[in-house]
Symmetry: C2
Subunit: 436 residues, 2 copies
């Protein structure tokens, strides 16, 4: 016996057996249906991209530690995409003048990140990427929020299961720059550390801020800011600074639209929302699972008005989100929201067992022909292919595969030009006429 | 001005803009519909696979020259898949005992081959992979042929546009081994060279055979074989050898089934069909475009009963095909078979322009609410997001985007609790009631 190859997929990536694929298709189909209903158009681009488009703005953790890259025979450095936003903006930059704005685009694509596989996180994951381009007003962010909420509702989620938390990067700048007057490099360190707050006890958070170099008063201001609601902000950021801050204005406006639309139960201002991408600017938002067992960020989005500048000196106000399949699936399973999936097979057309080859071929033709007739009516139809097999074996197969109905065509049926159709769930039989 | 990054995709790979994606989705949806109607189940696996599963049997041209591979931080050599068959068999080997046979599986996935990009061929291409596992009888190959023909018909192709050409590797063995008695290594060279016959004039073909080491008589036998029909075979391969040859028996049987099913106009025996994969055994088949402008192989398939042996010492009779999106699209365009695609947008709900912010917000809520009502009825609905924009500009946008209907809700409509719906094609207007 020779050495055999492993049958396992590459570490951290998933095989989708038919039963897994039903779930994956349910998720993808729901994504598509909702995006289309909002007039979003589907697009796509290659999984390999020039390395530089991620190096520019995706953020050092992903680029330095998680990017799978290679150099091709033409000496080009290419990367397997870790996210879908830079490639999306690249496509728009390519046809910037020809494309009518606003653009509403969505795509479903797989990404790779070389990280430690864990629950709800794999090296290969699929994302739904949804963005609107060309509208700077908060009405665009509002539309994205509407899509997020409608999407979650379409999966059966209610307001007690998830919360959309919204903040604005410009508010954080007001705090770190205008109020605390930190040096630029300390601002960046502080912001990146603030992004990790939810993952640690408050004591460690204070200690970390002091290690970065913030004094007691500055530390308290940051902690106060992170725990504040919209009404509490004026006690942290002086009113004249706050009311002129574009982030504050945008947040106030968008919450008015949210209120008018009756979406307030789903949304919350939360200044601890930061986002990790270097291209995030303006509004930032994340959806949290409210399950007491698994309270965590599910997915998020942001404004990234300036990302296009890595490709061209043009204006492209941009906002949108990316939702991963693995975290969503964990959410749906956790809240018991996955539907029951229907059988993949409507019929098995059996093959009447006879020893004589000529006769068996004739039964085979008839069963194939009736199967094609059922297919033409839109049914999913299996046939039996091994000649001269006992009917018991064929029926056992139908049972194992979860087939809904079996069709029997034997000598009596041929004499009367009919087929017997048996419903395997109810056991009821009926007849259909066949052409010979 | 800083240096800008290129907006082009990686060489040889395609961006799909929304208009391209409509075509791609039409192709994928048709693939899925047909496969499901034959009771095939969808599955999927990661685009990265251990390098060895291709090195084993995919064939040296692809493995040595076209495989994109990398070594990960855990020192694993992984490759971006160039084809879908080995990964499929890996998945089955993994759950060999648990899976009820026969298995009818299909998948749609992207592959990469590092080759010179040319018309109908790119470095990234998608394939439909369709196989039946667990049936050694030719009825399984016949089912695959039925799917191929039904698939082409579903795309609108008729028997004058394509031909399914069928042969059997075991017939070629009979010729090279039993008749010509060539050494094993010469057999392999000859077979690989025979696979390239269609790409050269007959003179060059004869010359090539002689260069491999075949004498005049052997060369003539090979040429005679390649041009033979089923009836002519006994003049090339002695009858006692031929009639016992499993390939000949299989071909004869399958053509009887084809005849019975009325599929003869689509099919042809052609001994020049060879296939390039090392795992091809038994029946081999290829579909050809019959266009006089572009007569060429579109896609193909084969039996690969022994491929599973690279993973496990088990039996798995296997047959099926893989169809690429780029070649299919070229075929559909060439024969003018692409359908007209419907507009992506049923409605644009306009936003009544007013300067007063409070009032404008109120119009915004009403337009959003009516849009959501239309969405709930299954329509694809755009809204206008920039407040206080002239209606002309909004209507111009609707026109440019190919929207079917626009909705207008102004002061008069609010007074009468109605919306005006204008069909942009016919110019006709109607009213709907709205809730305020």
């Amino acid at each position: 016996m020779k050495d055999k190859l492993s049958t396992q997929p590459y570490k951290g990536a998933r095989d989708f057996y038919p039963e897994d694929m039903l779930i994956q298709n349910y998720i993808f189909d729901t994504w598509k249906k909702v995006c289309k209903s909002f007039g979003y158009q589907e697009y796509s681009f290659p999984i390999l991209e020039p390395f530089e488009i991620f190096a520019a703005k995706t953020g050092e953790e992903i680029v330095n530690n998680q990017l799978l890259s290679l150099v091709d025979a033409g000496n080009r450095k290419i990367a397997i995409r870790p996210e879908l936003t830079p490639g999306t903006v690249r496509m728009i930059a390519q046809r910037y003048k020809a494309l009518t704005k606003p653009l509403r685009w969505y795509m479903i694509g797989n990404n790779w990140r070389y990280e430690k596989p864990q629950k709800g996180r794999g090296r290969e994951f699929y994302q739904l990427e949804v963005n609107i381009f060309g509208v700077g007003a908060v009405t665009a962010d509002f539309e994205i929020f509407s899509i997020i909420i409608f999407l979650m509702q379409t999966f059966g989620a209610t307001s007690n299961m998830f919360r959309l938390k919204i903040s604005d990067r410009r508010l954080i700048s007001a705090l770190l720059q205008d109020v605390l007057k930190l040096e630029e490099n300390i601002q960046l360190q502080t912001r990146k550390f603030m992004d990790k707050k939810t993952k640690m006890p408050e004591k460690d958070f204070r200690e970390g801020l002091r290690e970065i170099g913030l004094n007691e008063e500055q530390t308290e201001k940051v902690v106060g800011f992170m725990n504040s609601n919209l009404e509490g902000l004026p006690s942290i950021i002086p009113q004249n600074t706050l009311y002129e801050n574009k982030g504050y204005v945008a947040i106030t406006e968008v919450f008015k639209l949210i209120e008018n639309a009756g979406l307030k139960p789903y949304c919350e201002f939360d200044p601890s929302i930061i986002r990790g991408f270097d291209y995030s600017d303006g509004m930032v938002y994340e959806v949290f699972d409210l399950s007491p067992d698994n309270r965590r960020s599910l997915f998020g989005g942001e404004r990234f008005d300036k990302l296009i500048e890595i490709f061209a000196d043009v204006e492209l106000p941009s906002t949108g989100f990316a939702l991963g399949d693995m975290t969503l699936l964990e959410f749906l399973v956790g809240w018991n929201l996955l539907p029951h999936f229907d059988s993949a097979f409507d019929y098995l057309v059996t093959l009447w067992p006879v020893e004589n080859k000529e006769e068996s071929d004739s039964y085979f033709s008839i069963s194939q022909s009736y199967a094609n007739y059922l297919r033409s009516k839109g049914f999913k139809v299996l046939t039996w292919l091994e000649q001269n097999t006992k009917l018991e074996k064929q029926l056992k197969y139908a049972d194992k595969m979860g087939v809904k109905n079996v069709v029997l065509i034997g000598p009596e049926e041929i004499a009367t030009k009919s087929a017997i159709i048996k419903d395997l769930e109810t056991g009821k039989q009926k007849q259909d006429t066949i052409k010979l």
